[in-house]
Symmetry: C2
Subunit: 280 residues, 2 copies
């Protein structure tokens, strides 16, 4: 099988590596708009060749999109205009609502499989690509009933070979859940970094102390704005919903502290502790 990965950043680069290393593709091509990233991806041997999008759509058996989420709906629609019944198209983006709606009535909708592998780091670009990145992580597949059975099986086989548990849900559910378990973590990290940077203007040595707890809470603030702004904006209503709830919870803790409400603080933290059963 010949695979083409569109977008050779953190996700696309890691996926290209995985396809090669697990023997899932005989050839892996890359499509990449940035000349710098294209050269870097070749240097790091993430892909065998960098080619043009048209060539990829014409010759690849599998076309996998890993570009910023706001570019995916139109790109998928245009690619589906050209694919044959022997080709499979998939995306790896964080959002599915607008994407699935855009291609809902496309005559070639069946050739497309909507996926969201739940992996990432705060680093970006081809140099951030990792070996065995996805192993053990969950992947979401949306609207499986709208994909042709052979296309679905091909994509499922890839993710199973990579050792990824598959969860199926609607596009709406996936966008809501992603807001809660991924997007809000990034917003709080960005805000925490801004909070501390604001104070640093007055207090020079504040960071001599930055320890492990701080590092883990704030590391996502290193993430690429060009990746995350489209995600937040594309999932605006879900993200605002969870952001309002988060601010509300912070205000409750703040009021307890203002009132020296020790029992209230203890009860709230004990409740928060129950997050244990979710984190392994």
């Amino acid at each position: 099988m010949k695979a083409a990965v569109i977008g050779l950043g953190l996700i696309g680069g890691s996926f290209a590596l995985s396809l090669k290393e697990h023997g899932l593709a005989s050839e892996v091509w890359g499509v990449e708009r940035s000349e710098r990233n294209a050269a870097k991806a070749l240097e790091l041997r993430l892909v065998d060749r960098v080619i043009e999008l048209d060539e990829a759509v014409r010759d690849a058996d599998l076309i996998a999109l890993a570009t910023p989420v706001d570019t995916i709906p139109l790109l998928v629609a245009k690619i589906l205009n050209k694919v044959t019944p022997n080709q499979v198209v998939m995306d790896m983006g964080s959002l599915k609502g607008e994407l699935c709606e855009t291609i809902q009535m496309h005559p070639n909708r069946g050739r497309f499989v909507a996926t969201h592998p739940m992996w990432g780091t705060e680093y970006s670009g081809p140099e951030a690509a990792q070996h065995n990145a996805f192993t053990g992580r969950t992947v979401v597949i949306c609207e499986r009933e709208k994909s042709d059975p052979d296309a679905l099986i091909q994509v499922e086989t890839i993710y199973k070979t990579l050792g990824m548990p598959i969860v199926y849900m609607s596009a709406e559910e996936q966008d809501l859940h992603s807001a809660y378990v991924s997007h809000i973590s990034h917003i709080t990290s960005f805000a925490l970094a801004l909070t501390v940077l604001e104070k640093e203007r007055e207090e020079e040595h504040i960071f001599d102390l930055a320890g492990g707890g701080f590092e883990s809470t704030v590391r996502l603030a290193k993430s690429l704005p060009e990746t995350w702004a489209p995600i937040f904006m594309g999932n605006k209503y879900n993200v605002l919903d969870v952001l309002r709830e988060h601010i509300h919870q912070l205000q409750i803790l703040r009021r307890m502290l203002e009132k020296d409400d020790r029992e209230g603080l203890l009860a709230a933290m004990k409740k928060a502790n129950t997050i244990k059963r979710i984190l392994k």
Copy 2:
């Protein structure tokens, strides 16, 4: 040297292990109010013996306190009432303001060294103690000029032997800085856990997706309420100061998202990215 560690939890247990493993003490005793934790500490060989506080204060050359922060000021005052000029007392708590004020005029103030090793995990109790926990972490020493030179050198030697860079500051500076690089991270984690748990009541399967980013932002929410409530309350004004700023930053991001202000979001995130220079 005979050392006594008061409080055999995460910090005290790890410190006892470090003293033994680095040959810093010929004997390490523990004082622990909870029978369960005392038995566990012996079983795990964190200490050679568990003894009473009076015995520890009478016989130990070094007395190290690792109990909850709200218990430390009175405990240190009472211990200082009894120590001889050959003994050294130190604490390892997260707060120094009230502690240093309480013992400010004590005739034996010089025998005490106020320290805050910047290490911890979200786990607690003797079973959470780790080998080589402190190596490479920064330790803060407060009011060094108020400690007798020999006491200061003894404590500095211990931390240097453990491979810890030492930073000196006033008690006020340390409490302010700790609010920004440690306490606020815990509050945001607790609030994030509460936010997600709130939503989980409606959406059963939200956690099938919980990935690496979520885990790292929310892991501190597993921390022990009995440890952290006294820290937040003991550092109330600093913690409220940073919490208000954090809520303010979240509200700015929220308003940008509400107004579809893409440029504003990108600029804020780019600024947050500069946290990179602090996190190695």
